[in-house]
């Protein structure tokens, strides 16, 4: 190739590089051209759905359906503003969230899907029945559940329950349940943030008229018991509206989480909440 032609190639490609680079950088940062408004600094939204066959919609427009290979739904080119996300799945409560989109930032949220039908299974000590059946609980297991409710038990509910990471704790104080972010050196997760750039360190779980007596992290949310209403499960999110479901609607019912099982005590009977 002649030197002249090589120079032409070189200068041409350098010119392409110089022209392309700022355009690509602006594009990478979310700048988009919208007719009527000119260049807009857009943001994005990413919704994570752990279950399959869930339909995700943004402001009423369907974004997609979750499946084996698809759990994340990223929508970009969004003008800054407020967006409504809806995730529906057969057999689960619909999940709504109001998200704020800010320029050059991505707002993320995780869909908290709770089944409509929640089962509470009465636990029966296998040693107390004539023959063991599929619905009895091995004696040792039953005893561990029973002992969890004893006042002197080491598993008695502390006022503060830790989570992993330990920078997130749930506290029960004066009948209110709050989730707190305790690490001042790191940015809290997005569920603590009303908008991507406005984060707090507290998420109120139960601050109403009911008196909470116990709360723990379970099933991706907070399980808490109140004197008045029984046992509830609520999503941990400061953004409207976090999903809340009554798991066991009996006044005075208590609960414990034992080895990953959610056990409710109603009088002398023990129940396990399944299906979550």
């Amino acid at each position: 190739m002649s030197k002249r032609r090589r120079r032409l190639y070189l200068y041409g490609l350098v010119a392409v590089f110089v022209l392309c680079l700022p355009l690509v950088m602006f594009y990478a940062n979310g700048y988009r051209f919208q007719s009527g408004t000119g260049f807009v600094r857009t943001g994005g939204v990413i919704i994570t759905v752990s279950k399959g066959d869930a339909v995700v919609s943004l402001n009423g427009a369907e974004v997609g359906t979750s499946g084996f290979l698809r759990h994340n739904f990223y929508v970009d080119n969004l003008s800054p503003g407020i967006y409504q996300v809806l995730v529906t799945r057969e057999g689960d409560n619909p999940w709504h969230r109001t998200l704020i989109v800010e320029p050059e930032l991505v707002t993320d949220a995780q869909a908290f899907l709770i089944p409509v039908e929640i089962t509470s299974v009465r636990l029966v000590d296998a040693s107390k029945v004539a023959s063991s059946t599929a619905t009895t609980t091995p004696h040792a297991t039953y005893e561990s559940y029973r002992k969890a409710f004893l006042p002197s038990s080491s598993t008695s509910t502390p006022l503060i329950a830790l989570h992993k990471p330990v920078s997130e704790v749930v506290a029960v104080q004066s009948g209110d349940v709050t989730v707190l972010w305790t690490d001042p050196t790191t940015v809290p997760p997005s569920r603590f943030c009303l908008g991507p750039s406005s984060c707090g360190v507290e998420i109120p779980i139960e601050t109403g008229k009911q008196t909470a007596v116990n709360a723990e992290f379970f099933g991706g949310g907070i399980v808490y018991a109140t004197k008045e209403g029984g046992v509830f499960l609520k999503e941990i999110d400061v953004r409207p509206e976090p999903l809340s479901v009554q798991l066991y609607p009996v006044r005075g019912a208590e609960f414990r989480v034992v080895n990953g099982h959610l056990i409710v005590k109603d009088g002398t009977a023990l129940y396990e909440i399944t299906g979550l």
Partner: protein, 518 residues
Amino acid sequence: MNTQDTYWYLHVGRASELTGRDRVYYRLFEMLPGVLSIATLLLFVVLSFKLPVLAAYLTIIFAIYWLLKTIYLSAHLRHNFKRVRHNLSIDWNERLKNLAHQEVTHLVIFPFYTEGYEVVAESVRGLLSSQYDHKRIAVVIAAEERAGKAQRAVADRIAADFSTRFGAFIVTEHPAGIPGELAGKGSNISYAAEEARKRILDAAHIPYEKVIVSAFDIDTVVYPQYFSCLTWHFLISERPERTSFQPIPLYNNNIWEAPMLSRVIAYSSSFWQMIQQERPERLATFSSHAVPFKPLREVGYWQRNVVSEDSRIFWNLFVRYDGDYDVVPMAYPVSMDANVASNFWGTAKNIYLQHRRWTYGAENIPYILFAFLKNPRIPFGKKVRAAFVQIEGFWSLTTNPLVLFAVGWLPLIVGGRAFNATVLSYNLPLIAKGFLTVSLFGLVVSAAIAMQLVPERPREYSRFHSLMHLLQWILVPMTMVVFSAIPGLDAQMRLMFGRYLGFWVTPKSRKITAPEVA
């Protein structure tokens, strides 16, 4: 000017051969390639943690640069391929008719270690297949004493079978254990060249300025008009005593036997040479090359104390003649062996070691910088250009693939929540991947050219094998990292820490059937 004193540094191999301040300078220059490469990679790592936005920008810049560079180099490759195809179609003997070609003698040196009779014989038969007066070719089979008597017997058998067909034919045996020498090709062919001078050139009163030396590997098989093409380039050269000549190495001898990995690596190497041949001002000699005997002797032959004697000889000549030395690209091929071992892992290991030796050409950087420091007669512009080309070349060889396919993606992993909440972090993989994917279309060009350079498929191989010759190019991203960047970094680190590389002989073995030359 006492040449010996003026160019006392001409055959420096490493810092430990120097003393005082010279040793310090040379050592610093040896560290330079490794420092630059490691610093670049570390910069990406540190930025990914501390300033992930900046690291993301650099990754995007790299991706755009890579695409444009691919386009640029692809254009060179296509041009050179056309030139090669044209040169293969020319009757070079016809072109020689009006030139004094009968005065030219070709001295062909085949360095030889433990290769079997058939490998050596095929290369010598290749000379006989050339369409050139064989009586104007002098052959040197350069054996090594350290290879043992059995190998000497192979050399002698070759001489017995073929010597009468050429103008001259000698077997040399490079003595073992000469102090100051690195056991390997450079020391062997230098010894052989000096022996050839005495036993062939002086004995037949052949003027040195009429002799061109082709320094081959033992598996090099010439194409039919190699000598005619070389003679033509030599005779029409404006400065024949200031010019080396570089053919294109195609690894076609056993390409149909070679595994896919080996084929991709082989063609990638050939293509790089073809690209460089379109940029002759950047060209240094590589592997099989040709050099006029007179300047070769004046510079003391190839260095005996370095691994990369093939490229080093160009720099020796460049420095010795104060920058007035060039390489002319012949755009004409020679055929060599692709790397083949008995199993996949053996082949992979051989390829890695071979590329580590090739990329150890970074040892030329300290040599060049040191020589430029010592030689004020080389024009400053040439010094700057040559140093930049070499340093940039070895730097990009190791860093570009690792940035594009590895460290460039670090911001996404370690950038932290603040970075991961930005639109930039989500767009980084999409944009970088987009540019890299478009770059990979350049592989289509490579595949098309490779299919035209490969010899005709032997009958024992099915069309499936031809299909695999096309599909093999998807391995390129992996080979760029594993068999180019990493051995390159390995070589530079060794240089940096003073763990100098010895010469590793690439194993050559072949089936007995002679390859068909395309």
